[in-house]
């Protein structure tokens, strides 16, 4: 079963929900940290690194002895990753998508492909939780591609939790696609509601079953609750606005380790997500 945790923007408590739910489930669970530009689940789960896999794409390399500066490769590349200005082609590996098209169109067979690293996928053992995390190489634009390679390495059985990147753009779609149910984490404030509505639109467009988790419940107003009721969106959990949770977070500790009574909230969230996933026709 694949369950994703997402939010319309960063800083709503998505990490808190992901790591605490993973720990609360208890028996072997796999957590995928797909926030590859800033993976931070490992700060809370603190495991031992088991393996690290470098993810590469093939990028062009031009043989100057064969190239006659014809410009075909540059005209072909819609990403502007290979550019011809009359002289030898300029190559920008960070924005290349590795499609291989330029090598195919080159009439002189002057382009060969070399590996270019876009990031790594690391596996960590953290007690009952197995953590898989992607780390995008600084400067690389291929966030969705790295997220997909994290997911390719996930277990095919058992429970897989996905900690999606914040927002509503392509990387989020890459992270949540294929999930059986999604928890959208938000805060009970007008800004929180606004970002939640964007995330809800995305879930509906993707056709994924989803519900809402209100983090720091009680700190703001009831607008998120009212909205969920009006839109018939299930409220999966409300995490109280307890300063001990924030303190645990700031020290890199798990709320459920410090406040064992919190475990019930995350377990119930897990059960509700499973139920949502099963409801799906």
């Amino acid at each position: 079963m694949i369950l994703a945790i997402a939010s319309g923007k960063g800083g709503t408590g998505k990490t808190t929900v992901a790591v605490n739910m993973a720990r609360s489930i208890g028996n072997a669970v796999e957590l995928l940290d797909c926030d590859v530009e800033e993976p931070n689940d490992h700060l809370f789960l603190k495991g031992t690194l088991r393996s690290s896999h470098v993810v590469t794409i093939p990028v062009p390399s031009v043989d100057g002895a064969l190239c006659d500066n014809c410009g075909e490769c540059g005209r072909f590349c819609e990403y502007h990753a290979i550019v011809c200005m009359g002289g030898p082609p300029l190559i920008f590996p960070e924005i290349c998508h590795g499609c291989g098209g330029c090598a195919i169109v080159c009439p002189r067979k002057a382009i060969k492909e070399i590996s270019h690293e876009i990031g790594v996928v690391e596996a960590l053992d953290c007690g009952t939780v197995r953590l898989l995390q992607g780390r995008l190489k600084v400067g690389s634009m291929l966030t969705p591609m790295l997220i997909r390679s994290v997911k390719e390495r996930a277990a095919t059985t058992g429970t897989v939790l996905i900690d999606a990147p914040p927002g509503t753009s392509c990387p989020v779609v890459a992270a949540v696609e294929g999930a059986h149910a999604v928890a959208l984490v938000t805060e009970p404030t007008p800004f929180g509601l606004n970002d939640l509505m964007l995330a809800v639109d995305m879930m509906r467009a993707l056709g994924l079953p989803f519900g809402v988790v209100i983090n720091r419940a009680g700190m703001g107003d009831n607008r998120v609750n009212d909205y969920c009721r009006a839109e018939k969106i299930p409220l999966l959990a409300e995490i109280p606005n307890d300063r001990r949770i924030a303190e645990a977070y700031s020290k890199g500790k798990l709320a459920v380790d410090i406040l064992p009574e919190m475990r019930a909230i995350f377990l119930s969230l897990y059960q509700k997500l499973l139920a949502l996933a099963k409801e799906r026709p």
């Binding site: 990403y79 502007h80 990753a81 550019v83 200005m85 009359g86 002289g87 300029l90 920008f92 924005i95 634009m141």
Partner: protein, 112 residues
């Protein structure tokens, strides 16, 4: 034929300069010989998720201009412009006409 490209938010010589290059709204292409100009839009680069600067540099090259005046040119765009033999000058604020005047008087700072 000597043409100068200036990044702008408007469509006339009195229009303000656009300090951005890759994400500039438009390019005003001024022909120093005929003292005429045309305005081309940069929507293709604006629509690109990445590589806007590179794409804008290619558009500038296509106009045949050998001089560009903008606020800020990123490193990738600068590499492409340099490969196209286009000189880059930086000028902040003010209008297109003032940028042109400053260029004519040799008052602009060249971006290396």
């Amino acid at each position: 034929m000597s043409k100068v490209v200036i990044t702008t938010t408007g469509e006339t010589l009195d229009a303000p300069m656009d300090p951005r290059f890759g994400r500039a709204a438009r390019f005003l292409v001024y022909d120093l010989d005929s003292k005429s100009f045309e305005v081309i839009d940069n929507s293709e680069s604006l629509g690109a998720a990445h590589g806007a600067g590179i794409s804008a540099a290619q558009s500038v090259a296509k106009t045949g201009a050998k001089v560009l005046i903008s606020g800020n040119v990123g490193p990738k765009a600068a590499e492409v412009l340099a490969a196209g033999g286009i000189e880059m000058y930086s000028f902040n604020g003010a209008t297109v006409a003032e940028a042109l005047e400053a260029y004519r008087q040799g008052k602009l700072t060249k971006i290396k």
